[in-house]
């Protein structure tokens, strides 16, 4: 299943391109030797590999423009890459294209305290923004679990979430302006530091476009004051149904928790030996529910949350008494993926989102599917926003299990679509879920996406053949899986 392609033969176009690049960029920014380009053959989803013929690592916006103009002149595709932590193969190189790494554009240009904004280059790491703003009491809210490594440019490409997005929003809600290079090599600014911009909201369409509409060279992001206090409740429930009901009741009561996560029994049993978070192993489901704000607000809200959980039948309630304990409660959740890698040779991580009211139905169906497909599945769930991450455990050395895992995964995603949800909540489509796009969208809707891409990238140079399947592709519909051994940065907690 893995696609391993050797260096494609350097065509005449490539030698022309390289000659032009060599005249415009320093030599150390252009990599063509096999041992130099190999590290770029995949992103966080290492199942898909393609050794790029050329890797270009520009050091400023001017050089990005040079690269894009050169590629445009020779009609060579460009795949942009940030930190390479993406989980759907959005940065998988193109066999006949340039891999454009933006990691060297990593300067924080400005922290503006008066406007509570930061101006950053795309290679700046997510967490580095918050670190730089910390001395002003500010931070950047979206916190994908790979935030220690992932870059803001990649976050913009994927519209990354995190555990706090129910209250603080996704990347699209926290980016005010981007400066992009279009496939014509022109610099265009979308959005602005003002609350809105004239004409169409092109920034909204750009965020989450997986590198297909333009290349970010600069972004202004919103910073918010760090809450004075945060505490988390860990609640045990005797059934998935009662935990699901507790989630619905919390929201119906008018509380928007800072974070609200669920793990099923399989997941807690998987992570507890790994992190010793103190999870209740007798519970069928546990909820982690966080409140933040001033100490008075948090105390008030925690009281109301506890009352709702108790009424919904929680069998055990624990409130973090210290910051250390809060982080320990979260540690298990944040390490669910690495833990899956410990208990099973391989796992296949899904990323569907469902309307929360169908949670019990979906989880119970997944239990039935375990029987049908003869594989185990652990469930971690962003309960607040309906984003489900079933982890299908299997052994890739048994080819027949691979096939079963893939069919199991496909069945879960189709179930998500069936109950009114979506095939991907936050990991993106990339190359991984391109086939499932055929399930979620009609041909006319997919053609609308292709038209939107042409509007931004009329030459079709930017990350071609990703995200939106062609007619032929939908016809051959297949599925892929994640091999734990091939997941890069296995030490990073992931969502």
């Amino acid at each position: 299943m893995s696609t391993h392609v050797s260096h494609s033969a350097m065509s005449a176009d490539f030698s022309g391109l390289l000659k032009r690049l060599a005249s415009r960029l320093p030599a150390h920014c252009i990599l063509t030797r096999n041992e130099d380009t190999r590290p770029y053959e995949c992103d966080g989803l290492s199942l898909f590999r393609e050794n790029p013929p050329v890797v270009v690592l520009p050091e400023d916006e001017f050089q990005v423009v040079e690269v894009v103009q050169a590629c445009r002149a020779f009609d060579i595709p460009i795949v942009a890459r940030g930190a390479g932590t993406g989980l759907s193969g959005g940065a998988t190189p193109h066999a006949q294209g340039v891999l454009l790494g933006l990691a060297k554009l990593n300067r924080i240009l400005k922290i503006d305290v008066d406007s509570a904004t930061a101006v950053v280059e795309p290679g700046v790491r997510n967490l580095a923004i918050s670190d730089a703003a910390a001395s002003h009491g500010l931070y950047y809210a979206p916190d994908p679990s790979s935030q220690i490594a992932c870059s803001i440019g990649g976050n913009i490409a994927e519209n990354s979430g995190g555990v706090h997005c129910l209250k603080y929003g996704l990347t699209v809600h926290n980016v005010l302006r981007v400066r992009i290079v279009t496939s014509d090599g022109e610099i265009v600014e979308l959005g602005s530091e003002a609350p809105d911009s004239p004409g169409l909201d092109l920034l909204a369409a750009f965020v989450g476009s997986e590198g297909m509409l333009g290349i970010v060279t600069q972004a202004t992001v919103k910073l918010i004051p760090r809450p004075a206090c945060a505490r988390v409740i860990m609640a045990s429930f005797p059934s998935v149904e009662s935990a699901g009901e507790a989630v619905a009741n919390i929201i119906a009561t008018g509380i928007i928790p800072a974070g609200l996560e669920m793990m099923d029994k399989r997941a807690t049993h998987m992570v507890e030996p790994f992190v010793q978070a103190g999870y209740d192993l007798d519970a069928d489901a546990i909820l982690l529910c966080e409140s933040d704000g001033t100490p008075e607000e948090v105390e008030d809200e925690i009281g109301r949350m506890k009352a709702v959980f108790a009424a919904a039948g929680a069998s055990r309630l624990q409130v973090s008494a210290s910051e250390e304990e809060r982080l320990r409660f979260w540690a298990g959740r944040k390490n669910a993926f690495p833990a899956a890698g410990r208990v099973s040779p391989d796992y296949y991580c899904m990323d569907g989102t469902i309307p929360r009211r169908h949670l019990a139905r979906v989880l119970n169906t997944i239990v039935e599917m375990e029987e049908i497909f003869g594989l185990r599945c652990a469930n971690v769930f962003h309960a607040g926003d309906g984003n489900l991450h079933p982890l299908i455990l299997f052994d890739a050395n048994i080819p027949e299990q691979v096939d079963r895992a893939e069919r199991f995964g496909a069945a879960i995603l189709e179930l998500c679509v069936e109950v009114g949800g979506t095939i991907t909540g936050e990991h993106g489509v990339g190359v991984e879920k391109i086939n499932q796009m055929c399930v979620q969208f009609s041909r006319q809707e997919l053609d609308f996406f292709l038209a939107l891409k042409r509007g931004f990238d009329p030459h079709g140079l930017l990350n071609p053949e990703k995200v939106v399947p062609t007619l032929a592709r939908c016809a051959e519909y297949g599925r892929m899986h994640v091999h734990a051994g091939e997941l890069r940065f296995p030490e990073l907690p992931r969502f």
Binding site: G169, S197, I255, E426, V429
Partner: protein
């Protein structure tokens, strides 16, 4: 398929075949907004207001899906029964305002800086496209990255890609409590005050500064738990307004019924909130400095636009008498303009939907 919907599809297909323009209309309360459409004589009017009704409302999912012609009033009443709201507080220009019209116009109200703008709350939309097909984008879930975010692109697009048929919006719980305080200070002080407050975790859900009889007056609304309001009121100070007086004030601001909005022309300047006083004339400032209404009949449009642009913002000729000499919307950059034109050509090749409404030549 329901008759009203099939009629709309027929109208689109007929107009496309006969190369006739289509003017999309909901409750008809926002004709003033955008460029005035000179094509009206030959155009077919696509009236969405008969396609109404809430399709799905799940309070615990924080989402409502409604047909585009559903009156805004009906939706707000329904949400109110569950102590929920449209947190972006869209202006209510009249009782017939529809939810589709709100999304197409993309306007947000006083709570925008705390809660987010209208487009932030758009989760899904069905578009009737130029070929007469119904296209569904997004959905009822908050996290959804399958394909491009078309619903948010449609927010504020003024119908240039076709009529919205239904929309899904994220809703929010109403705040437990609210309080409004009033302070006296000049414009410069007020803007400096906003900058200081941005660094503090204060629950400011609306703000407005303007001059009353030569005296600068700043009103600030706070929303949250009683504990949060008490500590915020203590740190902000000022005179506390009565609940009813406060409600009337923020409603008048939201719905633009306050006398300030009677000025013609009325400019809407949207600038980075930390911009200093612009010195253009009589202003009413909202959104913690980000929104500045300008009422000054004498001022040159070009001068206003340049001042807004100098600070990184833009100026809309929001309300005016007669045919204005300049485009009502601030001309976007050439790059944005080029992408906009290509998108219009891709989605509406014959240019039939709301021609000239967003930009005169589009």
């Amino acid at each position: 398929m329901e008759f009203v919907l099939s009629e709309m599809i027929d109208l689109v297909m007929t107009a496309r075949a006969s190369l006739k323009p289509i003017v999309i209309q909901g409750g008809g309360t926002k004709h003033f907004y955008g460029e005035s459409q000179s094509v009206a004589a030959s155009a077919s009017v696509l009236d969405v207001s008969a396609y109404r009704g809430v399709i799905n409302y799940q309070p615990s999912e924080l989402v409502i899906t409604a047909r585009a012609g559903t009156p805004l009033k009906e939706i707000e009443e329904l949400l109110g029964e569950q102590r929920q709201m449209l947190a972006f507080e869209p202006p209510r220009f009249g009782p017939s305002s529809t939810i589709g019209g709100c999304v197409a116009a993309g306007l947000s109200g006083p709570r925008r800086m705390m809660a987010g703008s209208l487009r932030d709350f758009v989760l899904g939309a069905t578009l009737l496209d130029a070929s007469g097909a119904l296209l569904h984008f997004g959905g009822e879930v908050m996290k959804n990255v399958a394909g491009y975010d078309v619903p948010r692109l449609l927010a504020g697009s003024l119908g240039i890609f076709g009529p919205l048929i239904d929309v899904s919006l994220k809703v929010a719980p109403q705040p437990i409590a609210e309080a409004t305080v009033e302070l006296e200070m000049d414009e410069e002080r007020a803007l400096a005050q906003f900058a200081a407050w941005r660094r503090m975790p204060l629950p400011i859900s609306a703000s407005a500064w303007h001059e009353v009889h030569g005296q600068g007056v700043l009103r600030v609304r706070l929303s949250g738990s009683d504990a949060a309001l008490n500590s915020a009121c203590a740190s902000i100070g000022g005179r506390k307004l009565g609940q009813e007086e406060a409600r009337q004030w923020w409603d008048a601001l939201r719905d633009q019924t306050y006398p300030f909005f009677k000025a013609r022309p009325l400019w809407r300047l949207c600038v980075p909130p930390s911009s200093p006083p612009l010195g253009l004339g009589k202003v009413l400032i909202e959104w913690n400095g980000g929104l500045r209404w300008l009422a000054d009949g004498e001022i040159e449009p070009d001068f206003v636009r340049k001042a807004a642009a100098r600070h990184g913002g833009h100026a809309t000729l929001f309300l005016h008498d007669g045919q204005p000499s300049v485009p009502v919307f601030h001309p976007p950059s050439p790059g944005v303009r080029a992408i906009t034109e290509r998108l219009k050509h891709e989605f509406d090749p014959t240019g039939m939907f709301n021609p000239g409404r967003l930009f005169r030549e589009l």
